[in-house]
């Protein structure tokens, strides 16, 4: 049984201060890294014989418009079936330079997950073989999951945020 502690120590030993912000929300090991190190970190977890985190569960994006310089976060969920161990890796990237290397070289499943993330947030995955929109029409000229596109019609006055949820 692999513990969060073991993996965290292994990662710290290998990557030093390139992995940081270790947390355990609801028992799931969560850490952050930089976009330069994300592929090496995933490769390390995948190929290390003690971890064997060979399954990429999910890739998605989050936007924090108020975090200057770290407006976007790409979240990777990975899973080791051998040890039944899950890990979440986050990479914060600035809006001004919205690039991150692709994980398609490691996992075939990353292809559509990254396309989806690009489609909704406009995050550019460098080296992706076919980075184009997947769920929305290709003519669309904005990225709909960004917070600057609110769900409600902004001209409506009868729905006040303070009264009706967010």
């Amino acid at each position: 049984m692999l513990t969060n502690q073991e993996v965290a120590e292994g990662l710290l030993e290998k990557f030093g201060d390139q992995v940081f912000n270790f947390e355990e929300p609801y028992g799931l090991l969560t850490l952050s890294t930089t976009r330069e190190e994300i592929i090496p970190v995933m490769e390390f977890l995948k190929d290390h014989k003690n971890y064997q985190v060979i399954f990429l569960t999910d890739i998605t994006g989050i936007q924090y418009p108020d975090n200057a310089g770290q407006e976007f976060v790409v979240v990777y969920h990975m899973h080791s079936f051998v040890h039944n161990f899950r890990i979440r890796i986050k990479v914060a990237i600035p809006e001004a330079d919205i690039h991150i290397p692709t994980a398609t070289g490691l996992f075939a499943s990353a292809n559509w997950m990254e396309r989806e993330t690009y489609d909704f947030f406009g995050i550019l995955f460098d080296g992706h073989p076919n980075l184009k929109r997947i769920l929305n029409i290709e003519e669309m000229d904005y990225f709909p999951m960004r917070k600057e596109y609110p769900m409600e019609d902004a001209t409506r006055e009868d729905k006040i945020d303070a009264l009706f949820g967010r």
Binding site: Y26, R86, S109, W112, N136, G165
Partner: protein
Amino acid sequence: MADIELLPHNVPSHNELPELVEELTTLNLGPTHPATHGIFQNILKMDGEKIVSGEQTIGYIHRAFEKIAERRPFYQITTLTDRMNYCSSPINNLGWHMTVEKLLGVEVPKRAQYIRVLMMELARITDHIICNSILGVDTGAFTGFLYVMQKREEVYEIYEEVCGARLTTNMGRLGGMERDLSSTAIRKIKEFIKSFPPVLRELEKLLNRNRIFMDRTINVGPISAERALSYGFTGPNLRAAGVDYDVRVMNPYSSYEDFDFEVPIGKSGDTYDRYMVRNEEMWQSLKIVEQAINNLPEGPYYADAPEYYLPPKDEVYRNMEALIYHFKIVMGEIDAPAGEVYHAVEGGNGELGFYLISDGGRAPYRLHFRRPSFIYYQAYPEMCKGSSLSDAILTMSSLNVIAGELDA
């Protein structure tokens, strides 16, 4: 008429014929084709009957659930989830409730957990009934489909007893179920446990060792375990390739650890193995349903969490606190704690994950659905490359791609 030339000089001799150009045919499979069982398109390049390459176009029924969810109170998101995999909506609904309960730290009583297991396993049966019998239809056996459809109808009647709806069930509540199992529901479930095995056996008799069916499905659309893992396969499709990953066993939720069942696995990951794995899973699900109904614990069917669980209606009329909570919950004025949670359940097609980020507001800050169909459907061109068109149809059918889940 003597000046007619009998031998035309302008026809080139055999050696001078222009070289035959091999052209590939482009075939649009979908978006509305009965064989795709849903709205998505495959643009296939065909060399005669052989598929050379394919590209999928999806998103035809994309409804922006993730965006809508950012403006909705937690309980209203349930109705979005049952429009994802509409063949087994209770699994989506209850999986979502469990995610929010994990975030809120609400402990659901045993009885509610057992009822949930019951409903989720019945939903798995309906899901697999559809997939397997449609596979029969695609190979030319329509009878089996109509025959087992009757049984799905019976399960839908059980849904009606439990939640009032049939297809888009919106089942359960945050903190438990909305009502206890009625005596009618229990009777219907017990009847189903008795009447389903003969029907399933009949379907097995029709297909399992049927020469035509076996010829049509064995070695059709195979995928190796490595490729399946790389492509993010989960659920029956991964198990058919020989990997015994099941969320119910690996990360038990809702008291799955109390139940005795087996995880069937296949070997070659072809259409026949996928069919057989689903077939066996129905038996296992039935076993779980039987255990759950026989060992149903006594006690409340909802958690003691008045802030989150909608109070009974008669309480609302008589009790001030209940009225306040009723109002607050219905108006979506319940603040959730800040946090991020990933919860996965074993859906009909595999690991259905909910990644929920709450910033302490009344709606999720971000909600992402890990939809198994979306992730494994990208392997489709690789799986049907080099096969004939009719085999490609079977491969798609056995993958059980549900358009609602694909597009979300």
